[in-house]
Subunit: 375 residues, 2 copies
């Protein structure tokens, strides 16, 4: 499918070593992004809680998901940032096996920046494969690839559908979050720079003809100015045909107040919400539904997409109402524990017996009663 | 479908008030369970992290999911415990609307203990409805019911299928976790009491003919003794036909060591894992995949099912490899924030530009470049 014949789909140690040959500027950019992502995600390690009372101790412990698969789309460009956004939290979580699947170029290679980033993250198990077949290989395993427990990462419609299918199969693999086209909503008042706003909308529009592009403006003159900037700036983009398709179904929402703008954002639940308004800090507490919020005129979305340190795998399509961006906890699960002394048992036994009776569950009650008579 | 004609499916204030009429023992049992569940879950409130460096501030804030639906199955008995296990963390999370759906009895009423527990949790929006149609009403809304964002709770195969269908629909509602039959795995050594072990296996078996019942034993004589106890104890149960069907496909796994037993548990990833062994505390750190772990001879699973304070909505069917039990975080999501000063922007801009170039995303780069020339 990738138009290439491979002897071995596994990336060799030699190939990984070659990856050190990057120019200094690229190397430094990847390292800076890595460090910023690492530092913010390092703070996300969960702290277990413990409760002791009346002879019963309750607590939860977090464990890394043992085997995780990271799907990194290929195609036109090496998505180094997506690799960092997934491998860094997986590494911090402590996943035993971090497996990367990414389609090879026509010459059978994986771009050096991807291999360099994988090296940085300590990822050594990399397969040259893409598409729905890569998801199947990760979810079910093959003769050469051991199956994984959960699959992360973006992809085209085939990849997305495959992820959903294997997640519904108990013998498959869980998925990170439901997928949908990327979105940005910019709330802008008269303090905003129409050129900045237009550039931010275009940065989203170049991703996907189906991308969601929404400007929430407090006056129509400002919206017109943004439109003029869009018309001008789009001419200079290489991905102009994608961006213009996305803009065709873009929206301008005119509101009377910042509160109304927040109400629009909460109903839409955008993946990215940019607050290019003077009083941004006054409305933060009212934002209920959004994936990632960018505050102020200098917080271009691209900063968070690449390097500031927040995760760029964010719920889209309204799913921010119930889902969070990827993070360390996406690569972990908790286990509940309870330790019960004889005294603790005797103390709680009558409560458990009464509730089991109420629910008509005899055997539940019996499992308590049989312990009552024994020391 | 429930064989009853209702004038109003909404539980009235009068009905909720009547719910105070419970006998003292029942009232006290529900209150004790409520308090224990509340106290343990109260510790689960997430604490947001914040990172400031080089003019960029990153943090996450947690928000309650605004509208949640709790499905409480009806049928033979009032599942008070399930209501508590879901409504308590929803309340702690701060969900604005907590909606309960539960099928009415033939006389059109909801059992008093359910209403009493709902009162305790401050839940006042209760609908007398069950089955797939209740899930649809919650997910999509009706003329009288406002839609919810996420649906929690167990149910029969129709309810489970309905939850999955609405979760796949972007206009539907998210679900708590994939469902499967309930399971228990008991690891027992010679320190265990075969009568206790048998009682614990039966407590699981009475739930469902498809329940997973697994004994991991260190010697075959002990396993035989448990079998004898099962044969004897099952005779006295009201739900003997369900329990015996579950036992028909139950498993006994004989292992040579406690380490081997843990390996079996990690591969199976049981919903409930009981450690009826002398050296339980030595193996806790090795348990990687399990929903809820019960330690020692007095920690009957029924304690956790009802009243000790841990959650009883736990991943089944191997999903404990990637999912956690329900908790406060199940009723919340996080939002990422970043605030960027002009200095912060200038500091990170070259990194972002280089990475955008590398990924061939012009407009991303342009959204940074356009800000570079402006003060």
């Amino acid at each position: 499918f990738d138009g290439v014949e491979l002897k071995n789909i596994s990336v060799s140690t030699d190939e990984l070593t070659l990856a050190d040959r990057l120019d200094d500027i690229t190397e430094s950019a990847i390292k800076t992004a890595y460090n910023n992502i690492y530092n913010f995600h390092k703070l996300q390690q969960p702290s277990p809680e413990k409760l002791e009372s009346n002879g019963i101790t309750l607590w939860r412990e977090y464990r890394a998901i043992e085997n995780v698969g990271l799907y990194i789309p290929g195609g036109s460009a090496p998505l180094v940032s997506t690799l960092l956004m997934l491998a860094v939290p997986a590494k911090i979580a402590g996943c035993k096996r971090i497996v990367v699947a990414t389609p090879p170029a026509k010459d059978g290679t994986i771009p050096n920046p991807i291999l360099y980033a994988a090296n940085l993250c300590g990822v050594t198990e990399i397969y040259k494969m893409g598409g729905a077949q890569a998801i199947a290989a990760l979810a079910y395993g093959t003769a050469t690839i051991k199956k994984v427990d959960k699959i992360f990462g973006p992809g085209n419609v085939y990849v997305t559908e495959a992820k959903q299918q294997v997640a519904r199969d108990v013998n498959g693999a869980a998925l990170d979050m439901p997928a949908g086209p990327s979105e940005v909503m910019v709330i802008a008042d008269s303090s905003a720079n129409p050129a900045f706003v237009a550039a931010d909308l275009l940065a989203q529009a170049e991703h996907d003809p189906n991308a969601g592009i929404v400007l929430v403006a407090l006056d129509s003159q400002f919206a017109d100015n943004v439109q003029k900037e869009l018309d001008e700036q789009i001419k200079h983009l290489s991905r102009v045909s994608i961006a213009s398709k996305a803009l065709e179904h873009g929206l301008v929402v005119l509101v009377n107040s910042l509160n109304e703008a927040v109400e629009v954002a909460n109903r839409y639940a955008p993946e990215h919400l940019m607050l290019e308004v003077a009083a941004a800090n006054e409305i933060l507490k009212d934002i209920q539904n959004a994936g990632s919020v960018f505050i102020g005129h200098w917080a271009s979305e691209a900063l968070g997409d690449y390097a500031s340190g927040t995760n760029h795998v964010i719920p889209t399509y309204g799913h921010a109402r119930t889902y969070s961006a990827a993070g360390v906890s996406s690569f972990m699960k908790s286990i509940s524990f309870q330790e019960v002394s004889h005294e603790g048992f005797l103390h709680i036994a009558p409560t458990v017996e009464r509730l089991a009776e109420l629910e008509g569950l005899d055997a539940h009650k019996a499992s308590v009663v049989i312990r009552r008579g024994t020391k």
